[in-house]
Symmetry: C3
Subunit: 331 residues, 3 copies
């Protein structure tokens, strides 16, 4: 039994019992969904609920992943993906827009280029007579909590097969570790695992931000910073690749960085541990050679699919459907 | 028992028995939807129907409100919100486009910047072997009949709590009463209530159009026109605020108007009657101070939600499901 | 019993037994859907499936037709219609994008301006552990196989009423027969019918491409090429009109063509055979006078609706639901 979570806003809301519970639900969900009868049963669980997907920042995978997660639970969805079609053109504030969504639906899933917006909106709705839960599907450079959930799930599921958990494992996060919000959100969760170590591998100009460094020190998470990728590969239990986040450039500074040193090539497979795994939040550019995809240690496509299932589990948990999934009736 | 309505095009189609009937359905619907079993039942009513939402004018709330209304009744939806993704780029006429929609769906809900378009399309479909009902979700400056329904419902529901109906009430419509189509559609319906009075409060340059003035005179609806908002506030039973409709400007004329005199401020709450209500079709800009939102007389957020429910009722009524809702079997 | 088809990529995949089988399913589907009970039954067939509609080329009718086809079978859908909202903005390849879709859904329906893309993607997915079927909803100038299905279905259904099939019939394809992919896809299927003849009627500069001419010769399909439309009208059993495909212009060459000679006017009805039919893949511009619509020989609106039903049948057939439709239990 874990603490209930109303809104999902930041990865630091999740503790280890929460993660354990969530991943139990995820595994059970996948199992139930394997038969038509089971999949039909899951759709009855939230058939009376409606969700709004409000994505004002371009997104394919997070959007589709949530959309399909809703469908798996029988939730009906509405979407805004392009703010130009909405009444923001008529001068409405985002606060009023989201309060409007809350008039119609039971759950709001939002992604925004603005850091902190999801928090602010959640606070606002808490003050109204029609409070509905918010899930932060990515807010600016600061947080992407559901990405962290699927990353942890993927790590555990992969390590589980070799008889372990994330405790005592070495995770290399590679590339633009400064501006990638998935790196931030995942790093925050590392404190829940004993003796897990992080290697931040990046060009000097893209090292982690001071606040994250401070956070990890305070939480006692062991971490290392290096510019040398090839030295880290043979040590790592997981390689977490990221693309350069040049949409956050202020003056085209990414162009002056030699990012090719932070690409995972086909040759790197030779120096990678036999049971290590390669992850990527996707989309990728050239960070991982497509020839790597066929190697069984490449887990990024599974990771993506895990994202849908952990999101199904998260929504089910938010709406207290834990028992309906772990002890389903007659399915 | 009221006259059947096939298409919903203009607010003057609705008479008082129709409104009574519709609002009975609305109230019953809300009651049924409170349990999961009830909400699931409602979704069976039109589970075999499909609707098209064809919105070529930007809209958030009307769109979402109809979308969610469809979902409540189990109707499956398709949408076009951006004409650029459609075959209008290939030179198709709007008549052909809508005839196409009628090939696939059982109901077309449309919003357009063009006055009279919904009427024209309804006439066209009436001549074809595949007639389907049209709901006008807003057509240019002239009509927004479903907005009028939710406005009347909100007025009655609020006045009902203080023991009355709209008869004998004073409604102030404030702001751009010239170009706001919600003002037109609502004013038309005022003729159904005895001794209801309208106060049009606006700058001189935004007074009501001649045809509306003529209409109200012919129908014997008492109305007053004034530029002085503060004088009207203490008299009114309902204050209906509107934003300036500058999208209809021909040469930026709105910029020269001091609209701040037609803003409802926090101080105005002091001179407002104890049981009066404040409404707004939304979206708002600065017409109503956000600090007003917390006052129990501010009804615009409820009004918005009422919009979804009256639209559910309207669709159900168009498809003759009256009895399935007022006398549901086994729910 | 016909060969199974996994992906639907090109019209040359369909043989005559396949077509016969598909049209039997189509007819049965339409019959079942006439009652609410039947329509509800159809929605149970694929209630556990999810589809992705990936349309990066403007489309109204093909999109809506597939969308509604999915809804008829209970399939839940996600859509991308505007590539600007997707992660292609972040530099993702289309291969990675579609592999992503395959992580979430059970079926991908795609339309693209690029010839051959659907084939390439299908090959790619065949190599992955998560293979899902692809339906080509139109790829550049080369193929539009489901359009060919609905065209054949419309021809047979219309001729069937006068006691025949497509064997021995004369089909005139009129207009831009060079660049219209519906013309290509339909022409390919003509080889399955005995003694069917094609008349290609077009300006000299828009004659059929060499590869199609070659194909028809090799397959022994009789065809004629002419610039004289009025000579062909009285001979034809079906007139298949097309619009000028000026989106494929390289230097505005369409402007120099007098396309009016390839318009079907109201006067042409007089010289058209009594039981001939007029078709058009739509959208139309001026190729067919709107006054022609009321003539019983004008079948293009039915053709459009046939498109939805043949697509329902196609999807059902791909997922081996043949028997659930032709021998439904208790409906």
């Amino acid at each position: 039994m874990t603490a209930e979570i109303y809104h999902v806003l930041r990865s630091d809301q999740f503790d280890r019992p929460f993660l354990n519970d969530l991943f139990d639900i995820t595994n059970k969900l996948r199992q139930i969904s394997r038969t038509k009868r089971g999949a039909d049963y899951l759709q009855t669980l939230m058939s009376n609920k409606r969700a709004m997907l409000y994505f004002t920042q371009p997104s394919t995978r997070t959007f589709l992943s949530f959309m399909n997660a809703c469908q798996i639970l029988g939730i009906k969805t509405s979407e805004i993906r392009d703010p130009h079609t909405s009444s923001e053109m008529k001068g409405e504030t985002v606060e009023d827009a989201i309060r409007t969504f809350s008039s119609y639906v039971d759950l709001i899933i939002m992604r925004s280029p603005r850091a902190g917006l999801a928090d602010r909106i959640a606070n606002l709705l808490d003050e109204t007579p029609r409070r509905v839960p918010i899930i932060n599907g990515g807010s600016g450079r600061d947080e992407h909590p559901t990405q962290a959930l699927l990353d942890i799930y993927t790590l555990r599921r992969s390590f589980g097969k070799t008889g372990g958990d994330i405790d005592n494992k070495k995770i290399a996060m590679v590339g633009d570790v400064q501006r990638g919000r998935t790196v931030r959100s995942l790093s925050h969760l590392m404190r829940h695992f004993e003796n897990a170590q992080i290697y931040f591998v990046s060009p000097d100009s893209l090292k982690i931000a001071d606040d994250l460094r401070e956070y990890l020190k305070n939480e006692g998470v062991e971490f290392h910073e290096t510019t040398n990728f090839e030295e880290v590969i043979p040590e790592a239990d997981a390689i977490y690749m990221t693309r350069i986040q040049d949409e956050h450039d202020t003056a085209g500074e990414s162009k002056h960085i030699d990012y090719s040193k932070y690409h995972f090539t086909h040759d790197h497979l030779k120096i990678l541990k036999k049971d290590a795994i390669i992850m990527h939040p996707l989309p990728r550019r050239q960070e991982i050679d497509v020839k790597v995809d066929a190697d069984p240690r490449a887990k990024y496509w599974r990771q993506e699919r895990n994202g849908m299932w952990t999101r199904v589990a998260l929504i089910a948990k938010m709406f207290n459907l834990h028992k309906d999934i772990t002890e389903p009736y007659g399915v």
